[in-house]
Amino acid sequence: MKAAASPPGLVMPHIRPGRILAWTLLFIGGVIMVTPLLFMLSTSLKDASQVYDLRVIPETPTLDNYIEILGDGRFTRWLVNSTIVAVIVTLSNVFFDSLVGYTLAKFRFRGRYVVFIAILSTLMIPTEMLVLPWYLMASQFGWIDSYWGIMFPGMMTAFGTFLMKQFFEGVPDDFLEAARIDGLNEFTIWWKIAMPLVTPALSALAIFTFLGNWTAFFWPLIVTTSAELYTLPVGLSSFAVEQSIQWEKIMTGASIATLPTLIIFLFLQRYIVRGVMLAGLKG
């Protein structure tokens, strides 16, 4: 667009050697960044005899490791566990964080500021400090080794609430007023009128919550004791320990844990990058 509007002499940017050098260095740096991922994937496609051959493209690629590991049943179980946990926690955050963010942004009532500060102040408390009381709570109520036990600490977050409040403040009051005059109730106004206006923020929140829960290790490690209930990172950790030095098996497990987010990224790159920018700038 810009180039088309410029006079013909300026259409071609002057290609200076400095630019080419900068591009090349950036590109090499980028390749180095993905090298660990490439080695992980390539080793997962090798059999035990090829592991010591460090070529990135396997001589005779094979899916045997995947067939063996997924066939064993534990990994599929952990995949299912991780998916259930990440999806439910994400839905809960999208619902409750935006409901609270909306209420704090758009309703006028006494106590609003106190509620906001109280929720915001929980950002100061590191998870690690709450883990022991949560563990105590989980063992008293029998939540150890249950999905709820893994999920309950993250069902709502102050970060998400703050993010959504920021965005709902940008929604014009006239829209909501018009809906009120049409006789819609407040819940419908939030859900049907306000929510669709903040979809970029909702997708940012969903991406962060999903990714955070998919990769979460510390709390799931504490609250799960039976392999049945492990999430993928915890399962992978225990699996890798038992494989000792069968690196091709460990790399296959690591690939199974990593590929889902990488594949999602390939499809949603634009939204994910925009979401990270939004969350970083407003958060």
Binding site: M33, P36, F96, V100, I119, L132, P133, L232, T258
Partner: protein
């Protein structure tokens, strides 16, 4: 049927007699009801409980008894704590500047690149989407001796002697830090890019008309205007490095935090005190120390933000 209709009419009457403002208040508190219960039960109550536990001798087997500041005294006299304290700050003071410097340089040049921009950005961003627990195993494999370890293979083909990496008390901490820095770069680069985009082009145009060299533009315009972004990233990544756990735990599962505790961070010490030794009260005191450290970092951030 008439009874139902009557009751509905009565309720409708009660509801419609309220003013718009009163209705708003009722709606607001009904929206907040479930979340408030959540925040009280899952956030506030456990916070107080953590402080309380830190002054008890609670273990899994015996009930908690008040012991005053005994846990804190024990912590100050524990050589392991000082080792861990030093390690945790090493992660912080190595990790934060190194990762911010790399990500700023990459973002600064990537911002000017048009050719395959989003492809190159994706290369840098992909590691951010990985699971730390999984990638720790990949890096662990890289650090192995010849013939398995990729890094030592490259070194030996260049004629450089093999390095022990995770087996050495001096090299292990940087070796554990590397994957943490690596995984965080993509996020920092994206945030820097957003910050760079937010600087109005007119500032640069004016500077160029005035004939300022690139270096001066960077120092006088880009960096000062990037300060909020920079402060955010410094705090965000500092907190991340102070809470490092997943990588350390997984890169050396036979002896997490080893060799000889040389890579053990505070969160790993908390985990082991609570779930290997079952000294919950002592572990709670350690979490309070972590909280204080993070609080100080956050307050410094607020201070810096206000100065802008």
């Amino acid at each position: 049927m008439s009874a139902v209709a009557h009751r509905e009419a009565a309720r409708g009457g009660l509801w419609s007699r309220r003013s718009l403002g009163q209705k708003q208040v009722i709606w607001a508190w009904s929206f907040l009801a479930v979340p408030l219960v959540f925040y009280v039960v899952i956030r506030f109550w456990p916070t107080f409980q953590a402080f309380y536990l830190s002054v008890t001798d609670w273990t899994i087997t015996k009930p908690a008894a008040f012991v005053g500041l005994e846990n804190y005294g024990r912590l100050l006299g524990d050589p392991l704590f000082w080792q861990v304290f030093r390690n945790t700050f090493l992660y912080l003071i190595l990790g934060t500047p190194i990762s911010l410097l790399i990500s700023f340089v990459v973002a600064y040049y990537l911002d000017r690149v048009r050719f395959m921009h989003s492809f190159i950005r994706a290369l840098y961003f992909l590691p951010f989407l990985t699971t730390a627990a999984a990638m720790a195993w990949v890096w662990r494999w890289f650090y192995q001796p010849v013939p398995i370890g990729v890094i030592n293979d490259v070194l030996s083909s260049l004629g450089i002697p093999q390095q022990p990496f995770l087996r050495s008390t001096t090299q292990a901490l940087p070796a554990v830090l590397a994957p943490a820095v690596w995984a965080g770069l993509g996020f920092q680069i994206i945030i820097f890019l957003a910050g760079l985009r937010a600087i109005p082009v007119t500032y640069y145009e004016a500077a160029r008309i005035d004939g300022l060299p690139e270096g001066a533009i960077l120092r006088k315009i880009t960096l000062p205007l990037l300060k909020p972004t920079l402060v955010f990233l410094v705090v965000f990544s500092s907190i991340g490095f102070l809470r490092i756990f997943d990588q350390v735990y997984n890169i050396n599962t036979n002896d997490p935090g080893g060799p000889l505790n040389s890579t053990k961070p505070l969160v790993l010490m908390i985990y082991q005190t609570a779930f290997s030794s079952y000294e919950m009260g002592y572990a709670a005191a350690q979490t309070v120390v972590l909280f204080v450290i993070l609080l100080v970092i956050s307050l410094v951030q607020l201070r810096l933000m206000r100065d802008r």
